[in-house]
């Protein structure tokens, strides 16, 4: 059962990532692109967790955690830059 | 005791996080314990007014309610997204806040954003009003009443008298 569910899960998330990429390229505004990137990193975490299940390895957990940390900080930095024109005041 | 552990819950949380990250063993238990005592002491000045947890069972209940709402609201919003975008009735709503504690307001805003269908967009300078964007709003008074009754009142009981 898992042999069927895993590829479907991969497929769903890859399509989701492609949709995010569409929004990232299409824009039209800067906040839209930042939002697309934000969603992309969240979907990337889901993809990596699935990959961990497929490879039967727990190492990928740490990669997921790191993406979560870096993604959050970068989204906040970009959002802050857009409101203030500066990141650290 | 109060001096050594200014925020007992934060310490417990840090300790459990450390154990989850590094695996359960005696060595990490001890190291985590040291960190759980030292970190809150070091960050003490960053917390000007400490929120006091008054009602722990209510907090557990609140967390469960929020998780349940996340699941049900996700289903509702999935239907909205897949349906025609023309039928959506988006709106900006101002929610008058009764909470006074910053931490409690943060929790309320996060809860509103986590349950799909509503996103908190801004807090006024005087911390009296919260600006919310709703994906599909039927009636403003109804939405405000629902948020107040379901999230704000429990939070008020948890953190303030």
């Amino acid at each position: 059962m898992l042999e069927i569910a895993l590829p479907i899960g991969f497929g769903l998330i890859v399509v989701a990532l492609v949709l995010n990429l569409y929004r990232l390229l299409r824009g039209p505004t800067l906040p839209d692109r930042a939002l697309a990137l934000d969603t992309m990193y969240i979907n990337a975490i889901a993809l990596i967790v699935l990959y961990g299940i497929a490879n039967d390895s727990k190492l990928y957990f740490e990669a997921g955690m790191l993406i979560a940390l870096i993604g959050f900080v970068s989204t906040v930095a970009v959002a802050k830059y857009m409101t203030r024109g500066d990141i650290i005041e | 005791m109060r001096k050594l552990l200014p925020f007992p819950l934060l310490s417990l949380f840090l300790w459990l996080t450390w154990l989850l990250l590094n695996g359960f063993s005696w060595g990490h238990g001890l190291l985590g314990l040291v960190l759980a005592v030292v970190l809150p002491l070091g960050t003490r000045p960053f917390w000007p007014n400490v929120p006091h947890l008054r009602n722990f069972p209510k907090l557990v209940r609140f967390v469960l309610v929020v998780h349940w709402d996340i699941v049900t609201a996700n289903l509702a919003v999935a239907r909205l997204i897949l349906g025609s975008p023309r039928k959506l009735r988006p709106a900006f709503v101002e929610l008058p806040l009764e909470l006074e504690d910053d931490f409690a307001i943060t929790l309320l805003a996060s809860t509103i954003s986590l349950t799909p269908g509503t996103v908190s967009a801004d807090v006024s300078e005087d911390r009296r009003t919260l600006l919310i964007h709703a994906l599909d709003m039927d009636d403003e008074a109804e939405l405000v009443a629902q948020i107040k009754q379901r999230y704000e009142r429990p939070l008020k009981e948890i953190f303030e008298c």
Binding site: I8, L19 | I81
Partner: protein, 110 residues
């Protein structure tokens, strides 16, 4: 592997995938920024939540011991996702992004 656990893991993977896709679909299709903002909250809650639950169950079963590490990712996302959504909304209001005409109420001046 026990059939029941395998079934639950598969179901969680599918639920997670479907919700991540629906969230991203919303991001790609909804007409204005404030509406699009609602998509990712779904992806970060039930989308990642579903896959993490699957992974939790899978490894707990594999090693015959409760593995809760993955919960940290969900916990972290639950704390941070509302914050980034809030910051992006503020940025959008600051730039006075166009909103759909029939939006009731108005954003605040930043």
């Amino acid at each position: 592997m026990d059939t029941l656990v395998e079934f639950l893991v598969s179901a969680a993977i599918l639920v997670g995938g479907v919700f991540a896709l629906v969230g991203s679909f919303g991001l790609a299709r909804l007409p204005d920024f404030y509406l699009r903002l609602h998509g990712p909250t779904k992806a970060s809650t039930l989308g990642v939540g579903g896959t993490i639950f699957a992974s939790l169950l899978f490894f707990s079963w594999q090693e015959q011991a409760l593995q809760l590490q993955e919960l940290l990712i969900v916990l972290f996302l639950f704390i941070t996702a509302p914050v980034s959504a809030h910051m992006l909304a503020k940025a959008a209001m600051h730039r006075q992004l166009r909103r759909r005409e029939d939006t009731r109420g108005r954003p605040w001046k930043q």
